[in-house]
Symmetry: D2
Subunit: 351 residues, 4 copies
Amino acid sequence: MTIKVGIVGGSGYSGGELIRLLLGHPQAEIAWVTSRADKDLEAVHRNLVGSGLRFVREEEAGECDVVFLCMPSRESMTRAQTYLDRGCKVVDIGSDFRLKDRALFEQVYGAEHSSWDLVEEAPYGATELRRDQVAGARLVANPGCFAYTTILTLAPLVRAGWVELDRLVVNGLTGTSGAGAEPKLQSHHSEIANSAIPYNVVDHRHTYEVEQELSALADGPVRVHFTPVFCPFTRGILSVCTGFATRPVDRAELLELYTEFYAAEPFVDVLTRAIDPAVSWQYLPYPSVAYLAGSNYVQIGIDADPKRGRIVAIGALDNLGKGAASSAIQNMNCMLGIDERSGIAGRGLHP
Amino acid sequence: MTIKVGIVGGSGYSGGELIRLLLGHPQAEIAWVTSRADKDLEAVHRNLVGSGLRFVREEEAGECDVVFLCMPSRESMTRAQTYLDRGCKVVDIGSDFRLKDRALFEQVYGAEHSSWDLVEEAPYGATELRRDQVAGARLVANPGCFAYTTILTLAPLVRAGWVELDRLVVNGLTGTSGAGAEPKLQSHHSEIANSAIPYNVVDHRHTYEVEQELSALADGPVRVHFTPVFCPFTRGILSVCTGFATRPVDRAELLELYTEFYAAEPFVDVLTRAIDPAVSWQYLPYPSVAYLAGSNYVQIGIDADPKRGRIVAIGALDNLGKGAASSAIQNMNCMLGIDERSGIAGRGLHP
Amino acid sequence: MTIKVGIVGGSGYSGGELIRLLLGHPQAEIAWVTSRADKDLEAVHRNLVGSGLRFVREEEAGECDVVFLCMPSRESMTRAQTYLDRGCKVVDIGSDFRLKDRALFEQVYGAEHSSWDLVEEAPYGATELRRDQVAGARLVANPGCFAYTTILTLAPLVRAGWVELDRLVVNGLTGTSGAGAEPKLQSHHSEIANSAIPYNVVDHRHTYEVEQELSALADGPVRVHFTPVFCPFTRGILSVCTGFATRPVDRAELLELYTEFYAAEPFVDVLTRAIDPAVSWQYLPYPSVAYLAGSNYVQIGIDADPKRGRIVAIGALDNLGKGAASSAIQNMNCMLGIDERSGIAGRGLHP
Amino acid sequence: MTIKVGIVGGSGYSGGELIRLLLGHPQAEIAWVTSRADKDLEAVHRNLVGSGLRFVREEEAGECDVVFLCMPSRESMTRAQTYLDRGCKVVDIGSDFRLKDRALFEQVYGAEHSSWDLVEEAPYGATELRRDQVAGARLVANPGCFAYTTILTLAPLVRAGWVELDRLVVNGLTGTSGAGAEPKLQSHHSEIANSAIPYNVVDHRHTYEVEQELSALADGPVRVHFTPVFCPFTRGILSVCTGFATRPVDRAELLELYTEFYAAEPFVDVLTRAIDPAVSWQYLPYPSVAYLAGSNYVQIGIDADPKRGRIVAIGALDNLGKGAASSAIQNMNCMLGIDERSGIAGRGLHP
């Protein structure tokens, strides 16, 4: 059986990553890739020169089993129903189906929602936390990249109730591919190459996804205090999360909590390396951004500062991989009941 | 009058930056620069090819008016007295004279202090906060780069008492020059160029300087929860500071607080640009790292999230400039009673 | 049938890339990976955290079908015979078996060769040019990264005799992974991140491989005038080759020559895009470095300057992929008679 | 005496660098800076926050002694006369007054020239080679960045006649600031950060400036075979020049030729360091890009390959400094008869 896959909006970076991964997926086949503008696929995705792939208009898109929507805010909501009606499974890489509170959605995205029933139907696709719902879904809302990193990094702590739920401070670093494939000043090489640029310093949209999902795991409402920083690497998210401990806790207990929580997960690696007091510059016990590039893996590290009552959890992943395209494929695999690792088991590049 | 300057330990990046700046200082003249190893100055600092400068051994160092000590922890403490005895003013760019609590010093640096009387004499050289003490000092302890950024970024807030003093969360990003001029794995280009590497995630040494100086400004003890991340730019520190508001406060009030606090400071620029709700990617109201490179300037931005009771203050500077060499020259200027801006008024590079 | 693979010297970047690729090779299985020093594989290759792989000493290495040697100059020559005697096929990623002129080898590498008979037996493993020899070999000498790029870029031109053979000028740009995994000053991030560093400006060792292989293709001896530049990207080689035309030739003819020459090659893409006179900044008709990272693909572009009688051919590949690990696997596939693309068909990352 | 300076077109990178440098020039004062679009100077040049500078429209520009024109091709030609008529000295950083062959100008720039008499009057502002003409000029044509680097790198060789004049091969690497301050795809961080992008591979416009100036130095016409590569650093040009020797020559003779040629030049440093045969990775005898950033210095290295009859000369400078703004100031200083080093003596940053 071959899974025929369509991609709506293939000229961005997530769309390109989907194509790259699906070309190596043993059960899937790319049926079509759309792009609104009249673009040349091999000029847009120069890694695919010689592949023979080309963009079609959405009107020319034929039948398929699964559709990935890679579209700006407020556009997927106009498409999902169409493809569901044709009997396709749909994974939305955009943000239209993530927030489950209608008033909040409309406030955050500044628009009414035209398919609210689908929002209610579509699980938030953090596979590790909602696997059963994803397995039974027709439509899945793939998580935002910052949100997914932070949710996975904090989930065990929040569910255990070991941190103050109203004072979770998250500093997120993102690579430049997070700002998309369209040239703009903040991602102009000369401006960002030697810089780090904080932006949307309070109230970033992904905050609400994190609060929604962590609240669902906790005994009560969770407050996330999130600030993103735009950084000079191309792929990657690093989420540095600080919580204030509700009871004395040391690193060993935290590592046990995390390794148990993620014991069955193929793509979440908890870093359990001991901290060596002889080393003055400790970094191996914590994740770094680079080693996840091109992969579906997440690395999580954790530490405690008993002197100050603080817990720090740090997660890293590739914003285009686990933060977008490869997690979307993981969700597809799960929806279709095939091996979740199919086509996305490759490790990140080093260096 | 010409100020004759000596530099002890000129082969590192701070030493190199001191040389570069002093070559352009209208009143100063480099008398000598030492380096322990038998190194060739123009091979170490290739920007100085043709300058005719060379390293001498410390034994060959002649008379001078001011000495800058650029030495590893636990080494400046063995040198300061010698130069003071010769009648020199001394600025220590190292960490030996910063912490004023002896037990804490010995715990943090793992060593006894051989010149504790000098620690008591030497002001902590955050010029903006201790100008009078610096002006009258023989020996000044130049601040650590992370510490200085964070102290300046939080000082107005802490003195005003508008944030919870035990829950200040600081995420610090540093460029690779912060790890020094000696090759090591974490600053190997292939490892860091596409990465961001958190390290010493709790209890970094600079935390104690920040707690010491902010506690001195506040009504009581201050707790700083600091995590550093090593980033792929060469120069710069970005300090993202989150505080929980003790009373309702909006951005306008915060900007007023900050602009007043720093009104007379030649090197601290508070960014007062309005937040434009029509812009979906706000970054101009906040500082970025790149634009300070090579300069003694600090840029500070501030914002409030009234919904979540949070205040965010962000500071940026050049770790080798304001975070080391140029602030040391500012302190020298202040100690000698000449224009504080002399030799360090140059703006950062763009791009 | 599963191919059991051993890797001698797995702690470097080529060794790491071999591991990453072999984990995804459908017919191969990693039997063992050696490292002399007592290193922790998951600390060295942090992309492989959770893989369960560990280094063994060479003495512990068990049986296998194929051995990859990833060793410094003058070390593979001491190992190849041992593994051949055990019945293994051997691919040497090092430089010991490439040069076929004994006096030249000893002059260039400053050492006598201890297994010269194996040098004579081992084909130079530029698969596209010596496929039949590779298919029948027990031992293959994998090409140097600069050499392979340049040979593939110039081969059609040189065989056609359309350029002066004694005046081929090659400027090669390499990423920092080309200098290996050991920290050193020239690859210290602060030194190289904003730089480009020419080195070994005349008489670089790879020059001799290129001259050897191109002379074999041409009617007479070929002279290559090669200068390498170390550049601030992690993976990639760009070889900019200038030749002086021996007869009037335009770009269309050149493209025809190249597309025919490489028509059957799965991993060589000749860029045939037209030059659009309306575009003032032409780059799409030429290869760039980034899009090949992590892959076994080569992209070649070509142009002519009829006014000045010049031909420019430019090739790009990933020095760790097609320039080392993935081409070694291509050679292994070829030696074993399986699909040459097996395990290495993945496209490079974008971005 | 204060020199009042006006800048036409101050929103680009060269204009910004002029402002930065002139703020530190002891005799000059910025009278006005224009920008066509209604831009906020401190948002465009974020290094100048707090400077109080703002853009004016050209109509509002008042009197001044010197005007710098920073304008796109074909625009300076419409302005120079106006400012000359007002009695200003004019330095054109653009390309309108460089080529002295009218037919060639019109072919290369695709436009007629509206002020050809001024082209004839304006010396080509490579100060080192045309100092007397510059000193007496009202209008100077500042060299193109690639051109200036290459001209200085090859001038001694070409004048001595030690290389074949029709076979000079130049590979030029440029940083991303060379493509200007406007976002575009090739300088989008995600596209260039891990790449090197060759462009305009034959017949780049700067080729003609180089041929013009080198022909003037030589006994006959010079042919330059130039290919530029766009590289992931922000500031810098590296020009790698290969010539075929017309007579046997060794490195010592070449160094003597160069050091003599540039003996009196304050901003040209010839690297004379010996090549140490014990070092396997030679780079100190050659210039690198980074160390010139922000400065007016040029570094030149040279080597010979007697085996192949080749000479390699390599030059490096900052495209925005010596390649644009600071050389323009050097020309201004020369035109006004003040110390040529005034305001531009600062060394590049390291790192």
